[in-house]
Amino acid sequence: MKTIKIAIVFLLSAVAMQAQDNARFLKAMTANLAEWKNVKTPDDAVKITNAFERIANAEPKEWLPLYYCALNTVTGAFQTRDAKAIDAIVDKAEEYINKADAISPNNSEILTVKAMCMGARIMADPMTRGQKYGMQSGMLLETAKKLDPTNPRPYLYEAQSKYYTPEAFGGGKKVALPLLEKAEELFKNFKPQSEISPNWGVDQVTDLLKQCRG
């Protein structure tokens, strides 16, 4: 009887520990995501990426912290003014997203960020890299769309890259508009898997729609 009681206690504590771990993970991720929405400067972005990276190192089975590290980093690549630094930044972003991909393959959100990494590389040398990386990026987005047709983010990123591509190369406002409208519609109905799953981008759609329409 005693043995059983001790066993039950240990079992309960194990379950409780696990629940505590999950709770700890959720709590830290939620806190970081809240901070993430308030990021204004590149230094802030580094702090948040580092926080996600610490969680990622402590939780090797989770893809979400790595996903946010990659997303932050590749966003930095899009914002940097130094074309020569882009490749180094994207290398880092790809390191994160490839680790995430290994944990959670065939993941629509992860493939979207991978496509963003390819797209960012174009900016280092648009004339020479436009075709090659443009194609690879496009193919990743198509797969992302197929894996999760309810995900608005592949359409959002595709719209953004088309918007900034010159018309003669198949881009421009007219091409971006239907993609943005599709993204807008998907955002309305999108249900994230959890409160820490990717759910960003609706503001970017609204802003870009304003540019396209008026």
Partner: protein
């Protein structure tokens, strides 16, 4: 009961938070400079913080016991600090060691597969070549706007830093190309054979090139073909000089591809419209076929095949200055020059990783070139000239050369940057010359072998070196040589670097000397180069100074048998010294990209039939170019202009140095200079998508200002002016201006591509 309570207590205590411990410190580099943005993490927990601009970090944790702080940041080696959270934590100072980082490190050589000089050389992209006005889509035309080159448009080859065209060689995917230029017509220069779009990059090295290449005394043009194409497409071109079409197919998985294209170049319609200084009985016509294939091998390997075939025909008639009559200012006769050229080139290359640290690059290449030349003297109404004095001008020559080369290079990486390359190369060639008119046959065959090794050493992020040595043997000369090559680069700041190079370069004498006498030695050039490079996103400044010492150049006599190659020796010598400037600016003038090149050279040599050591007739002391490009992205329209200047070139004046005379005043040899040379060219290109095709329209005008240009003078030993001097005429371009109009189009052939477009 007590036991249970105790267990519950232990169980519950796990949920009780402990007192918070504060950890703080400072992160710096080895020079005590603050590092911001470093990630300081308490191992295996979420706790940690990021260092601020002063390097300071702090955070609190409820962990206990021995823990490890892990500090990581870009560009530095990770660091781990042991802390005991149960006792008082003092302020933690961490200094991080810099990591020799691939992106931040300076480059003496760059890229994984090409072991050549991307920094000392200047890299052009195929788009740069095609859009440079005056280049007419010819790689060598574009290279002539870079420092170190001469504007010798009347001669075949690229003339670099005081060297002849023979001293610059072209390499495709590592292997030597024997006939990189279309067969030249005397005094009319020649275009490069290969389409610039075939190559993903061109490296032009004006000196001091890598130990992986040899047999070029002056410089190397290193071309690397495109790897796997991105998508299938069809393409066609229509222009004022010809038409062409082709297809490129890539499979969906991008594991194999092939491409076939055909081009027909015919200058007859153009010459009918634009008068030339020479008359063409048959305007140059070329039929060319290019076939490429790519096959992915395993995970990282790639097999490439490129074959090229070109049949060229031309027949040009020029007034014969030997038949010039000064009293009537007329020419009795003209010279016919008929050339049929058949050229075939095939190159198979393979690159792969044998292990994650060992790369292999291997190539095999076969080429054959046949020139069937017929020359004779004709009367003005196209009849064969029966005058016995002109009989010697009838000449039929068939020359053929065949080349097989094989080369293998292995590269072993140590760490992320240091590496060692070693390899071997074998070139077998046969060169035959059949002087049909005299029934004389010349033939030479050579087995050339070389082994080489080279290493890239990165001592710190700021200092890198490249050390190599090459040994060569030629069976025809029955001699061998060893050539050391060293270069070093030192980073002065984030954007500037200084580098220096030293090397020995050997080359066999030209074939015309070897036909008569194979007992010659390699010619030798020793290069000393110093270079300063400053590069930002928008600007590039390159200053370079060099000294080349030439030894063992071929030497023969200036006799009345006119520069006969028999009895040549290696007693020739020379030097070339100069400074060069290159400035490229993509920012100052809005929307414009321009570059300026200036080269000053001081060179003298006493070689071949020279009577003294003097500036050669293929060198101008000052050469400058300015290339301007402007592209309007909204309109997809671009304009390019190129202006080139070159000071006069020496030329041989028979009236001062008489080939019949055994005693000439050596000081008068090559003492005359041509007028300075100016050229201005402009081109426009317009890009447009029409339905599913992508189109580029190009209009280009060479010398629309009709500037007078002369390259030298030709003298006649048979025709004398009324004052008794030998008659001469300037060497002029075939036409003062050249107009090119072209339309290039491409369209996707891949069905999946259409499918994607349809689904949007």
């Amino acid at each position: 009961m007590k036991q249970l309570f105790l267990t519950l207590f232990t169980f519950l205590s796990a949920f009780i938070t402990h007192a918070q411990v504060k950890i703080e410190g400072k992160i710096t580099d080895v020079k005590r400079k603050a590092i911001k943005g470093a990630n300081v993490a308490l191992g295996n927990t979420y706790d940690g913080s990021t260092s601020d601009s002063t390097g300071y970090f702090s955070f609190t944790t409820s962990e206990k016991g021995i823990q490890y702080l892990q500090i990581s940041t870009e560009g530095y080696k990770n660091n781990t600090v042991r802390v005991n959270l149960d006792s008082a934590i003092s302020f933690i100072n961490v200094s991080l060691k810099s990591k020799v980082n691939e992106i931040q490190a300076i480059r003496v050589s760059a890229g994984a597969f090409e072991a050549s000089d991307e920094k000392k050389g200047t890299v052009l992209k195929s788009l740069d070549i095609v859009t440079t006005a005056g280049s007419n889509g010819d790689l060598n035309g574009a290279l002539k706007t870079l420092p170190g080159t001469q504007q010798n448009n009347d001669k075949e080859g690229l003339f670099v830093r005081g060297g002849t065209g023979y001293e610059t060689q072209t390499y495709i995917d590592g292997t030597l190309v024997r006939n990189a230029f279309l067969s030249g017509v005397p005094d009319l220069g020649a275009r490069g054979r290969f389409n610039p779009f075939l190559f993903k990059g061109t490296t032009f090295s004006a000196g001091g090139y890598s130990a992986l290449y040899g047999q070029a005394l002056s410089s190397a043009i290193i071309l690397e073909t495109e790897d796997m194409p991105e998508k299938s497409q069809g393409f066609a071109n229509f222009s004022s000089v010809g038409i062409g079409a082709g297809i490129l197919k890539v499979n969906k998985a991008k594991t194999h591809s092939y491409s076939v294209s055909f081009n027909h170049t015919n200058l007859a319609p153009y010459f009918a419209l634009m008068k030339q200084n020479v008359s063409y009985k048959k305007a140059p016509m070329y039929n060319q076929i290019d076939i490429s294939a790519r096959q992915k091998v395993g995970k990282k390997g790639l097999l490439k095949l490129y074959t090229y075939g070109n049949l060229g025909r031309l027949n040009i008639n020029r007034k014969d200055i030997d038949s010039y009559i000064d009293s009537t200012k007329t020419y009795l006769y003209k010279n016919e020059f008929k050339l049929n050229n058949d050229n075939f080139y095939a190159n198979i290359s393979y690159k792969d990783y044998i292990t994650s640290k060992l790369k292999i690059n291997a190539g095999v290449c076969y080429s054959t070139n046949t020139d069937d030349i017929f020359m004779q003297s004709l009367t003005q109404d196209d009849q064969v000239n029966t005058d016995s004095l002109y009989k010697y001008k009838t000449n039929a020559i068939v020359s053929n050369n065949q080349l097989i080369t094989a080369k293998v290079v292995l590269q072993r990486n140590f760490g992320s940057l240091n590496n060692l390359r070693f390899g071997a190369e074998q070139i077998s060639y046969v060169d035959k010359n059949n002087l049909k008119t005299y029934n004389v046959n010349y033939k030479i065959a050579d087995q050339y072998s070389a082994i080489f090794t080279e290493g890239d050493v990165y001592i710190t992020n700021d200092i890198a070196g490249k050390v190599g040595v090459r040994a060569e043997y030629s069976s025809l000369l029955n001699r061998w040589n060893i050539a050391p090559r060293v270069s070093v680069a030192y980073k002065l700041s984030r954007r500037g670097q200084l580098s220096a190079a030293y090397g020995d370069f050997y080359q066999k004498p030209e074939n015309r000397f070897l036909y008569a006498n194979a007992n010659l030695n390699f010619m030798k050039a020793t290069h000393y180069i110093v270079n300063y490079l400053y590069q930002t996103k928008d600007y590039l400044l390159r200053l370079e100074a060099y000294d080349k010492e030439y030894k063992n150049l071929t030497k023969n006599s200036f006799s009345n048998s006119l520069y006969s190659p028999q009895n040549a020796t290696n007693d020739g010598y020379g030097y070339a010294r100069g400074i060069e400037l290159f400035w490229r600016d993509k920012k100052t003038l809005p929307g414009m990209d321009y570059w300026i090149s200036y080269s000053y050279i001081d060179t003298k040599r006493n070689f071949n039939s020279y009577l003294r050591s003097t500036q050669p007739d293929f060198v101008a002391s000052h050469v400058a170019s300015m290339v301007v490009k402007k592209f309007w992205v909204k309109k997809m329209f671009g304009v390019n202009g190129t202006y080139t200047f070159s000071s006069g070139r020496p030329y041989l004046n028979y009236n001062k140095t008489n080939p019949y005379n055994s005693t000439n005043d050596a000081n008068l040899f090559l003492s005359d200079y041509t007028k300075a040379y100016h050229n201005f060219s402009v081109s426009c290109n317009y890009l447009k998508s029409i339905k599913k095709t992508f189109n580029v329209f190009v209009v280009s005008l060479n010398n629309p200002l009709y500037l007078y240009q002369e390259y030298g003078y030709n003298y006649s030993l048979m025709s004398k002016n009324q004052d008794g001097s030998f008659h001469s005429e300037p060497v002029l371009p075939a036409a003062r201006t050249f107009v090119f109009v072209g339309w290039f189009m491409s369209w996707g052939v891949d069905k999946t591509d259409d499918a994607i477009n349809n689904n949007l």
